[in-house]
């Protein structure tokens, strides 16, 4: 058989087959086999080809989240004041950690790091870096600049994680309001920020809620007014060598706090420093909310309002004030000699303890208690600060008639200055209970405590205090300030009262004809040394500070003084009307 027989192999083969078996019946079976083989090969080669084509066209890409989209969303909501000024924001920062095993010369690293971070000592760092562990934190958070300086050192084994730093651009001015944060769960890449105090603490969940990260939390505070009030209080504190000062400015229509200052204060951008001493002198202690003080004669305004409201007296009813009031073995007296009888108005204007106590007795203890309860003096402040709920007012354990009498002039009950401001705002706003709030907008008061009539009368009476009583120094032309002083001896920790340590308070409302703002200013242990004898009364301390505060604040609030009288030498001629 020659090779030439090969091409017609099939035929030959077929022929041979047919020759041998004698028939064309087997040929279709052959074709079928061939087709099957061909199809199989085709399939395999197609599969290989398609796969190759796909591999050539599409490189595999790891599935990933939209890169970069999540980077700029803040990890914690911002806090702004009522005008949109930033009070709390986030800054990208870094954390510094080390793998000590990769560090060759721990002493040199420690020395150079200590030069960058002045608050860390080289010895401490050496100890930490030579411990032989695989991982140690060095410092967190650090600023981008510090990171650059560490990078410039060029040591191996020093690594960075990303962090978000909470920053308070307004610093001390709003320290007690915003509070601060601490690091929660953390690892190398990420740290949780947890609110620890102030608004940050109270609204922790809302600030961390991913759905609301984009919308800043708007406070009712006005940063400019807050800064001005802080300035004035700091100056007053220095002038009267006071240990502390507090100021509360409230919108009487909504209960919004426009300013809330407690001095001394602290820098919220720094880590808390250890403080040994009485807790109420810690700069972190918010006096306006956590502090509870006997606020003295300012309470006479409330007593008089309760008496008017209950209908037992009118503003001109005469009350006996000439002699001391004896109750059991206690005697209630006035500091100065008072006329034998005074009107209710004069009891407030001239600040008679005896008169106030008699008013309280006329109202009666159960009713008096009820009024205080309705004003919210029995519960912690409903304020949006983490500290507020832990500072309920201090009430007498057993409220007797004697308690009513002392409470009528502000002793035997200790409340926060914000409580007092809310009570004054309630009177100023027309008698419905004003709930203090730190959130922009506030709420329309609904719950009636005093009738509008009582509220109006009380405004007239506290205006009298400023016109001819102890508040004369706040009689700023055009602002119609009304208010009441209170000088209360401080409570000695062991019991009893200090002789020459007082809390001087001035609670005021302006303008009294159409009240807009309530302002409570208190000084802790002030003393006026300008005269021959040291003076501690509120009329010489808290009142001038309030006058300075209103002079600064009212223009900032856009309040123009009412024209007092036509300027001298000018005659007013109506032109235009008839």
């Amino acid at each position: 058989m020659s090779d030439f027989a090969a091409p017609p192999f099939r035929q030959a083969h077929g022929r041979a087959q047919s020759a041998s078996r004698g028939g064309a019946a087997t040929r279709p079976r052959d074709d079928w086999r061939l087709i099957v083989v061909m199809l199989a090969l085709l399939l395999v080669y197609t599969a290989v080809g398609v796969r190759m084509g796909l591999m050539a066209l599409n490189e595999p890409v790891e599935p990933q989240l939209a890169r970069g989209a999540g980077m700029a969303t803040p990890v914690r909501g911002e806090i702004v004041d009522r005008n949109g000024n930033l009070l709390a924001a986030n800054l990208p920062a870094f954390s510094l950690y080390a793998h000590p095993r990769e560090i060759k010369d721990a002493a040199a690293v420690a020395r150079d790091l200590a030069a960058i971070f002045p608050d860390m000592s080289a010895e401490q760092l050496i100890k930490r870096l030579s411990r032989g562990s695989r991982f140690v934190w060095i410092k967190r958070p650090i600023t981008p600049r510090q990171r650059q300086r560490v990078l410039d050192l060029g040591y191996p084994g020093l690594k960075f994680g990303s962090r978000t730093m909470r920053i308070y651009p307004a610093g001390r001015t709003v320290a007690h309001i915003v509070g601060n944060v601490r690091a929660g769960n953390e690892d190398v890449r990420f740290a949780e920020l947890v609110g620890a105090g102030g608004v940050e603490g109270y609204f922790d969940e809302r600030l961390r809620d991913p759905a609301r990260l984009g919308a800043p939390l708007e406070l009712s505070i006005d940063l400019t007014v807050q800064a001005a009030l802080r300035d004035v209080l700091a100056a007053g504190m220095a002038q009267f060598t006071a240990k502390g000062a507090m100021g509360v400015l409230m919108d009487v229509r909504t209960g919004e706090l426009l300013a809330l200052v407690s001095l001394p204060d602290f820098d919220p951008n720094r880590a808390p420093e250890p403080f040994n001493g009485p807790p109420e002198f810690n700069p972190r202690f918010n006096r306006t909310v956590q502090g509870r003080y006997e606020l003295g004669s300012t309470f006479k305004v409330l007593t008089a309002a309760f008496a008017l409201e209950s209908g037992v007296v009118g503003p001109e009813t005469l009350i006996e004030t000439g002699s001391a009031l004896t109750y059991g073995r206690y005697r209630i007296r006035d500091m100065h000699r008072m006329p034998p009888e005074m009107t209710v108005t004069d009891i407030v204007v001239r600040s008679s303890n005896v008169g106030a106590a008699r008013l309280a007795l006329r109202v009666g203890t159960p009713r008096l208690k009820d009024y205080f309860k309705r004003l919210g003096f029995f519960e912690p402040l409903p304020l949006e600060l983490a500290e507020a709920e832990h500072a309920p007012p201090l009430l007498p354990p057993k409220w007797t008639d004697l308690s009513s009498m002392t409470i009528s002039f502000g002793h035997g009950i200790a409340v926060s200055p914000v409580h007092l401001a809310a009570a004054f705002a309630t009177l100023a706003g027309g008698g419905k209970r004003v709930l203090p709030t730190l959130i922009k907008g506030g709420a329309e008061p609904t719950e009636r405590v005093f009738s509008p009539e009582t509220a109006r009368t009380m405004m007239r009476i506290i205006r009298e205090v400023v016109r001819r009583g102890t508040g004369r120094r706040t009689n700023l032309p055009g602002y119609e300030v009304g208010g009441k002083t209170g000088t209360a001896d401080k409570v000695r920790p062991g019991g009893g009262y200090y002789k020459s340590r007082v809390i001087a308070t001035f609670a005021s409302v302006f303008p009294t004809s159409n009240p807009r703002y309530a302002l409570v200013i208190s000084l802790d242990e002030p003393v006026d040394l300008s005269g021959p004898k040291p003076k501690r009364e509120a009329s010489r301390t808290a009142v001038p500070v309030t006058a300075a505060a209103i002079r600064r604040i009212a223009p900032l609030l856009g309040m123009r003084p009412l024209p007092v009288s036509a300027p001298a030498g000018l005659a007013t001629v109506a032109a235009g009307g008839q």
Binding site: G53, L57, N58, A66, R67, G68, A69, M71, A72, P74, N85, L86, A89, N90, L91, P92, I167, P169, A170, G171, R172, T173, L223, T224, Q226, A227, A228, R230, D231, L476, P477, G478, Y479, R551, R552, A554, P555, L556, R560, P561, P563, A566, P567, G569, L570, A571, T572, V573, A574, A575, G576, G577
Partner: protein, 139 residues
């Protein structure tokens, strides 16, 4: 005819493949660009964030007050006080010259203002403020 059809479809296949290849790579380039832009946007946003914080810090009232106190010998600023408010009525207007008087008062009447006229105008001893109220015509 079959051959022509075959050839045409082969050409079509090759052309389509080439087109798909091209589109695929263009898409990938674009996706890369999108990615780059996204991270650029994120970086810009972060920068904006930092600048906003810096702005807030630089404009903090306490800081501004400190700066003003430092440079107040040249600035001469003082806090705004109630004395800086006044009534339009209290501003002395220029004395009325004997002339077309009714015309002078007309704009004031329109605005229903209270105009204060100096009772005894001294012979002009000091410059009287000349800026005029809006709508004031002298003719």
């Amino acid at each position: 005819m079959t051959r022509l059809g075959f050839a045409l479809s082969m050409i079509a296949v090759v052309a389509t493949a080439a087109w798909a290849y091209h589109v695929n790579y263009r898409t990938k380039t674009t996706l890369g660009q999108v990615d780059r832009l996204r991270s650029q946007i994120a970086a810009e946003r972060e920068a904006v964030e930092v600048l906003r914080v810096e702005w807030a810090y630089l404009n903090a009232p306490a800081r501004l007050a400190r700066l003003v106190a430092q440079h107040n010998d040249r600035l001469g600023l003082e806090p705004m006080g109630p004395q800086q408010f006044d009534e339009v009525a209290a501003i002395p207007f220029p004395p009325r010259t004997p002339g077309p008087a009714p015309d002078d008062v007309a704009p004031a009447r329109e605005a229903e203002m209270v105009v204060v006229i100096s009772e005894s105008v001294p012979p002009v001893s000091r410059p009287i403020p000349m800026p005029r109220p809006a709508g004031w015509r002298s003719e």
